[in-house]
Structures are given as C-alpha cells and as structure tokens.
Symmetry: C2
Subunit: 260 residues, 2 copies
DNA sequence: GCAAAAGTGTTCTTCGTACACCCATGA
DNA sequence: TCATGGGTGTACGAAGAACACTTTTGC
C-alpha cells in the first residue's frame, strides 16, 4: 500500500489549490494565513491549500483544504488564476490553482495540517512561502476589479451593517476615500439596500403595542411628533441589509453599477 | 526509452493548455479551430492546445502548441480560467489552463497535430470536443469584460484602421449597436488614437512639394481652399492608429475608461 | 461638556445620449 | 443619379463631485 506508485508515460506536474481568504474587522482588510508545519518553508506563513485529489474538482479541493486547515466552511470561492512558473516549488513541478474567498470574520482555529491559522491586516502581511506574495498581489487586484461590478462586499460584513461600516470596507479594498454624503446617495440609489428596523423594540410602548389600533384622530393628533420620535429612537447607527432579490432585478438594467 | 515511465506516490492529473484565438474579418468576430486528427473526439473541432511540457510554463506551452498547430506567433495570451471537472477528458484526469488570444486575421495553415485549422464566425461555431463549448462561452464573456478596460481591440485590427472598422469590432464583441457620432466622440476623447496621414502622397503636387516654401501671400491666397482641398484628398476613409505612449499616460488617470 | 462620528441637500460640472444633414464614392 | 457609407455638432438630461452644518453618542 505504502509502495503503490502512479506511473505515466509523460511527466505530470502536481496540482495544488490555494485560497486567499479576505476578512474585514471594521477598519481594515485582513487575510487568513497558516503557519506551515512541514517542509518546505516550514514555519513560514502561507495560504490555506494543498494537493488536489484525483477525484475532485479544484473548487472541491480548495474547499476541503480550507475546511481542514481553518475550519471555515465557505460557500463561494472565486478562481482568479493558475500559477505555473517552473520552479515555484522546490520539491517537484507544482502548479497551483488559486481562489479567493470572502469571510465574515469569526473565530478560526488551526486544523490538521496547519500549526496555526491567523488573520493579518493586508499591510502587515509577513513574507510568504512559495510565490504566495505574488499570488496575494493578484488576488487583491482581482478583488478590486470585482467589487466594482458585484455586490460581494456584503459577504464581508454581518448581515446587518451600518453605512459607515460599508464605506470603510469599500475604502479599505479600493484604497481611496469617499465623501460620506456621495457614498450614501450612491449606495441608496442602487436600490439593493434595505433599511433594517433593528431598534423597533425600543420605540415607545404605546406606538409599538397599538400600531394597528390607532384611530384616525390619534394619528392626526400625534402625526408629526410620532414620526419624529420614532426616528430618534431608531437612530443608534442606522442598520441596512443587502436585498438579494432587488439586486437580481437591478443587475439586469444595463445601467446598473456598483462603481465608484 | 519508449518504456520509461514517470512515477509518483500520489496520482497526478495531466495538464493541458487551450487557446481561444479571436479574429475579426471586418464584419464579425471569428475563432480559430482545428479539426482533431486523433482520438478522442477525432474529426471534431477543438481549440489549438495540448499537453504542457514539464519544463515550460503554461503560457509557454500554449504558445508552443499554438505555433505548432496553426503557425501563429502571438505575443499576448490572456489566461482566463482553468477547467477541472473530473470527467472532462475520457482518457485520464486532465485539467486545462485556458487562454484567449487576439489575432490579426492572416493565413493560418494546419501544422503537425491538426488535420486543418479554420476560422469560424462566432455564431456558426460547430459543436466542439471535450468541454470546449463551455470554455468558449467563458472566453467570450471574459473578452466582453476586458474590452471595457483595456485597449485590446486594436490587436484585432490592422495597424491602421478606420473608425467604422473599429466601431464594427466593438459592436461585434459587445453585441450592441452604437450611434456613430457618439462612438467617434468617445473614442477620440480618450486621446489614445492618432490620425494617420495615409494619403498625404495624394495631395496636389504643388502643396506637397512646396510645403515649406509657400510664402505668406500664397497661404493667404489659398488659405480656405487649401485646407478644404487637403481634407478632401485625405478623406478616403480616415485612418487612425493606436498610440501606446498616450495610452500609458491616460490609463493612470482614475477617470480613464474605454467603456460604452 | 467635549470630541468624534452619523446623518442630511444643493450646486456645478461632466458625461451620455439622442438626433439630422452634407459629402464622397462607386454601382 | 442614386444608394451607400463616411464624416460632423448641438441640446438635453442624468450622474458624479464638491461642499457645511446639525444631531447623537460615548468618554
């Protein structure tokens, strides 16, 4: 069993997958690295990944390795390049198929192959194993391009988020600063955001309990005041959520853009 | 020699490259296919490509195969995806790294591995071998995306081209129709096009030969007429060329777009 | 109560789009 | 001479960019 070998008439490269996992801590963009437990590059930081099995697709392999090494179960991986330089691995000829993933930052623990897994802010990434520095550069370039056209930013935030959080995310990814008012306007007029009444429970008991029972006269009496009051109560940082149905409608419009 | 085998502890997939070559005949977008001379899919049409050698990168392999099978020597290949479905090749586990290329349509002759190579308009492509139909769809999607941001269209045209030619190219790729005036305006205001005086030799001998010798009085005398005449002579379809230096300047501007 | 962050509207400029006529060429 | 295709300018509307003050919250 141990001595079984797989033989081919022509030499075959080994094929690995690598996964660049992005996360957002509210202020800067991070990536998830594992410290390599074995040679080569033992002790160096590298992307989660490993050899693709012969009976799985690259996507499946990348997800399996990600789960084994970090415990993360992500539904979406984006393939952004395959790296084939002849000497990129000292062991043998290895090509790697690279993906990026977007994670809501949660606790990530080390697994089988990884001594440990750890988040690093993008501007404090240590030198990486293999050609992973180069791969990282390509991954961030691709993310920058993609976020202009797809609502992937929301995969990096909690389901409910505030507008300033969203803005900081876009600014981290694109490395630019936006005017707050213009950002609000543009995001809202895409139509894909929904305001969330996170704080509706805090509103005065009268309006909460009797919402359906109010007579016309009470409405008229409290009209202006009621709106004012509700607004004040709700505002502790207005929360929004991404509305996927609306996105599916809007993206058909040729003029729909998420661009800035 | 014939019996030498390459053996590995774990099974390795074979790795191929495939190349989707786009060409433009002045009216519609074409792709270059070869008729397979061997099994599997003997007699089917497929992209030029083949097994990657162990001592070459995927790019090198793709260019080598392209040259061997079609005689084309192209400087730029764009990697747009790696296809890894487990059963995509009946022989063994094969993954393919796919590129697209842009060619100025010239005479392409069959080579070693290909019984013949032939151009097909995109809307008359026959059923293809392996998963090449799927790969073709991905290639055209990628080309559509890329042409918004990179001046790759010019690689499909002769060095000197007319504005209507350029417009037909964009319309073929994007599948839409543009207003001629708006297309002119937009293309010219990108600043990356240069008008070419292809027909300067045709201008009246007097102005051609004596350009530097004309006295003020003659200039004054012929002023309006001269401009008119020169213009008329030059206009047999104004030719433009792509100015790479200017592109390199302009693309730094954050507002630079080739989009429509 | 003070500092930091959230929320909100208007103006100006730029860009996209819609649209019609003249000229040149070649059948 | 007629039909086809190339070449050009303007006016309107939409979207982007610049910009300041008030309210709320947390220390």
């Amino acid at each position: 069993m141990d001595k079984q070998m797989y033989c081919y008439k022509y030499p075959h490269p080994a094929v690995t997958t690598d996964c660049v996992v992005f996360g957002f801590d509210g202020h800067s963009l991070n990536i998830l690295l594992i410290e390599r437990g074995g040679e080569p590059y033992k002790g160096c930081w590298a992307f989660p990944g490993g050899f693709m099995n012969i009976d799985e697709s690259a996507e499946q392999g990348a997800m399996r390795e990600l789960s084994e090494e970090t415990g993360l179960e992500l539904k979406y991986l984006k393939q952004f390049g395959t790296f084939t330089a002849v000497n990129r691995d000292p062991r043998e000829r290895v090509i790697t198929i690279a993906f990026y993933a977007l994670a809501r930052k949660s606790n990530v623990k080390g697994g089988d192959d990884a001594a440990k897994a750890q988040w690093f802010p993008l501007d404090e990434v240590p030198p990486l194993a293999f050609d992973h520095d180069y791969i990282l550069r390509k991954a961030t370039e691709q993310l920058k391009k993609d976020i202009h056209f797809e609502p992937i930013g929301f995969d990096l935030l909690d389901e409910h988020f505030t507008m300033p959080e969203l803005q900081r995310l876009y600014e981290s990814i694109l490395g630019v600063h936006f005017d707050r008012r213009n950002f609000y306007k543009k995001m809202l007029q895409t139509g894909i955001l929904e305001e969330v009444d996170d704080y509706v429970d805090d509103e005065p008991a009268f309006f909460g309990a009797h919402r359906e029972m109010r007579s016309m006269s009470i409405d008229a009496l409290f009209g202006g005041l009621q709106k004012e009051e509700a607004k004040q109560v709700r505002r502790k940082g207005t929360k929004f959520s991404f509305n996927k149905e609306r996105y599916n409608q809007f993206k058909e419009d040729k003029n729909f853009r998420l661009e800035f």
